[in-house]
């Protein structure tokens, strides 16, 4: 599904990623862990195609295609979803309006039929229910005045509606209490399938108690220092990241 090879990327002329190689197969859940400033968020933005995150070397292939030649919305329509660490507040655009615009834009880009208002609303309510997202919240401006937990649940709702092939979740656990974390984790687990892959970017092991990864990678100073199975996360919990300085 995703093949990252020797990826170097800079932000504002400063090299942040210094040669990352990572292969993610369909159906797998990968956790990328690491200390602050290790390049975790940069990796997620490079995958999503954010301006200002410049790839200076290396390649990313996604479903056999050159990901780096695609713009942000093309990547989204091709099935890449980035769950934001800090979801952006969009005053004046209700969640419903936004979700409909996003879903129909992707359908259109893929040459699929657009949903009418009735079918769309039914679908959204269906997806919102298990995440405890009320109609009232859907009618409010996107993320405006949402609590930290509401914002993260709103991200999961977007993901569950857009049904991506590859979801990159950037610090989805940050700022969540344990109950909110469980709701979010259940939302993610419900979407796990043999066709879909996840990259969970996280600082703490805690999230991985609820979403069990197939592979764990330790990112430090722009490089993957170690990769292993889910037990690597537990080891990190004991030893911390101190041992991974370059």
């Amino acid at each position: 599904m995703l093949e990252i090879e020797n990826l170097h990327a800079s932000v504002g002329g400063k090299e942040i990623l210094k040669g990352i190689s990572l292969t993610v197969k369909a159906g797998e859940v990968h956790a990328v862990m690491g200390p602050n400033g290790s390049g975790k968020s940069t990796l997620s933005y490079v995958l999503a195609g954010r301006a200002g995150y410049e790839v200076t070397q290396g390649s990313i292939r996604y479903q056999g295609k050159d990901l780096l030649s695609m713009n942000v919305e093309e990547r989204a329509s091709a099935g890449i979803f980035l769950g934001f660490q800090y979801p952006i507040e969009i005053p004046g655009v209700t969640s419903v309006t936004f979700l409909k615009a996003a879903l129909n834009a992707q359908h259109k880009a893929r040459g699929e039929e657009e949903l009418d208002a009735v079918r769309f609303l039914k679908l959204v309510r269906e997806k919102a229910r298990p995440l405890n997202i009320s109609d009232d919240m859907l009618k409010r401006a996107l993320n405006v005045g949402f609590s930290g937990g509401e914002k993260k649940r709103a991200e999961i709702l977007q993901m569950s509606l857009l049904e991506p092939s590859l979801a990159v979740l950037d610090e989805t656990d940050s700022g969540l209490d344990i109950d909110a974390l469980k709701v979010v984790a259940e939302g993610v687990n419900a979407l796990r399938s043999p066709e879909r892959a996840f990259i969970l970017i996280t600082h703490y092991q805690r999230l991985l108690d609820y979403i069990v990864p197939d592979r764990v990678h330790v990112l430090s100073q722009g490089r993957i220092m170690r990769s292993g199975g889910k037990e690597l996360a537990l080891e990190l919990e004991q030893t911390g990241y101190a041992g991974f300085a370059a």
Binding site: A48, G49, R50, A51, N71, V72, E73, R75, A76, S77, F81, L82, F84, P87, I88, I90, P91, G92, V93, T97, F98, A101, A102, L103, A105, Q106, A109, A141, Q158, L162
Partner: protein, 433 residues
């Protein structure tokens, strides 16, 4: 270059005998207005309240000062306009003159009196409105100019405790090159309720100057919803001045969307006659190219216990220039005043500019007042967020621009009028070349 003031003076001398009310009080008032206009000249940037807009220069350069050749050229019907889908009585004016054959006033109820101003200048309530407005706004030379040359307009009176279910739409069209000076008098008697819509548009001509004055008197406990769509030609010059007077516990909800005119100055002067008055002025503007749009609001709190809110939002693209000047004056006696002024502008291009000057002048000590202004760009972060969900960049920008204006238009109390203006605002972004 033409000297617009000289041309206006000549037009006045030529037409004065034919203007309504030439012999009586109105003729005298017109003569005074002309004298004051000749003394002060047309508004220019050395006046504090006009510091960002040079009307004199715009009129000198445009050559729009001459009277139009026709009072209203052949016009079979009024083309599609903003509030078309709404069931409303309609008065159509062409070049400042009422056109009954284009209007729709059949079935007016007893409680709504609607006249062509040229027929009723001498009626007591019209005369009182014209005289008091002139006292209040005697320093405004555009208002004096209007008084000097106005023939016609709408004179509307909503009777005591009458709740006008059906709205009234004033459609102001320009069909010939030149200047027109239209005057409206809108009066709500005690306890009356009404919705009045206004549209400013071109009917096939670009080169014109439209100079309107609207007197609005909202009586005790009365409630007026006023919704204006300003879609004048993008070459035209438009000045619209409103003198708004509120009685005890009266409510005025003024809402507008301006997308038109090459140079526009829209100004409101709000005052309170008694306690408990509430005035909300919500302004949305969307300008591009070389358009210049200036919104001025003066709110005079001279009595205690009134509330005013001015909320302005502009989106500016190309080399457009936006201006907001708001001034709330809270006099010594006006305790328990609640006065707010807020201006937000969104610049979509390097060439666009905005001048915002919300101002509070407070002499009372027990008041709640606030003012603020922001000028910014679309957030790249927000655009990235929307794009990351598959929405293309242009659509993402359009969503954000529309949302920005919607927050003002959302406040229009009349649902259908609100939807009409929201649709226009939504289309505006898509119209960019």
């Amino acid at each position: 270059m033409a000297d617009a003031l000289r041309i206006f003076s000549e037009v006045y001398e030529r037409e004065r005998a034919a203007l309504p009310g030439a012999q009586g009080w109105l003729g005298e008032l017109r003569a005074k207005a002309v004298a004051s206009l000749r003394e002060s000249g047309l508004p220019h940037r050395r006046l504090e309240t006009w510091r960002y807009t040079d009307l004199r220069r715009a009129l000198d350069q445009s050559g729009f000062a001459e009277a139009p050749a026709h009072r209203g050229a052949v016009l079979k019907d009024a083309a599609a306009h903003a509030f078309d889908g709404i069931d409303a009585y309609t008065m159509v004016f062409v070049n400042g003159h009422f056109r009954p054959e284009l209007s729709a006033l059949a079935g007016l109820p007893l409680g709504m009196e609607v006249f062509s101003l040229k027929d009723v200048w001498d009626v007591h309530w019209v005369r009182a409105a014209v005289e008091t407005s002139q006292q209040r706004l005697n320093a405004e030379s555009a208002v004096s100019l209007n008084l000097a040359l106005a023939h016609d307009g709408a004179a509307i009176r909503i009777g005591r405790n009458w709740n006008a279910q059906k709205a009234l739409h004033l459609l102001h069209l320009s069909s010939d090159k030149g200047a027109s000076h239209l005057r409206n008098v809108i009066m709500l008697e005690e306890g009356a309720e009404a919705a009045i819509f206004e549209t400013h548009a071109s009917a096939g001509v670009d080169d014109y100057f439209s100079n309107l004055v609207t007197h609005i008197d909202v009586g005790p406990n009365a409630k007026l919803t006023h919704v204006v769509f300003q879609g004048a030609s993008r070459k035209s010059v438009l000045v619209s001045s409103s003198d708004i007077r509120l009685g005890r516990d009266a409510r005025y909800a003024g809402n507008s969307l301006s997308v038109g005119a090459g140079l526009a100055r829209e100004q409101s002067f709000v005052s309170f006659a008694d306690k408990g008055g509430e005035a909300d002025i919500n302004v949305a503007a969307a300008l591009r190219g070389t358009q210049h749009g200036d919104r001025y609001c003066f709110v005079d709190h001279e009595v205690p216990g009134c509330r005013s809110s001015v909320f302005f939002r502009a989106v500016l693209d190309g080399d457009a220039e936006g201006v907001f000047q708001g001034h709330a004056l809270v006099r010594e006696n006006a305790q328990k005043t609640d006065a707010r002024q807020l201006a937000n502008a969104l610049l979509l291009s390097r060439g666009a500019s905005m001048n915002a000057k919300p101002e509070l002048e407070i002499y009372a000590d027990d008041v709640q007042c606030a003012h603020g202004a922001t000028i910014g760009e679309l957030s790249e972060q927000s655009i990235f967020y929307l794009r990351s969900r598959g929405i293309d960049e242009r659509t993402a920008r359009g969503l954000l621009v529309t949302a920005f204006l919607d927050e003002v238009l959302e406040r229009i109390p009349h649902e259908k009028a609100r939807d009409s203006l929201k649709q226009i605002a939504q289309r505006w972004f898509g119209e960019a070349a």
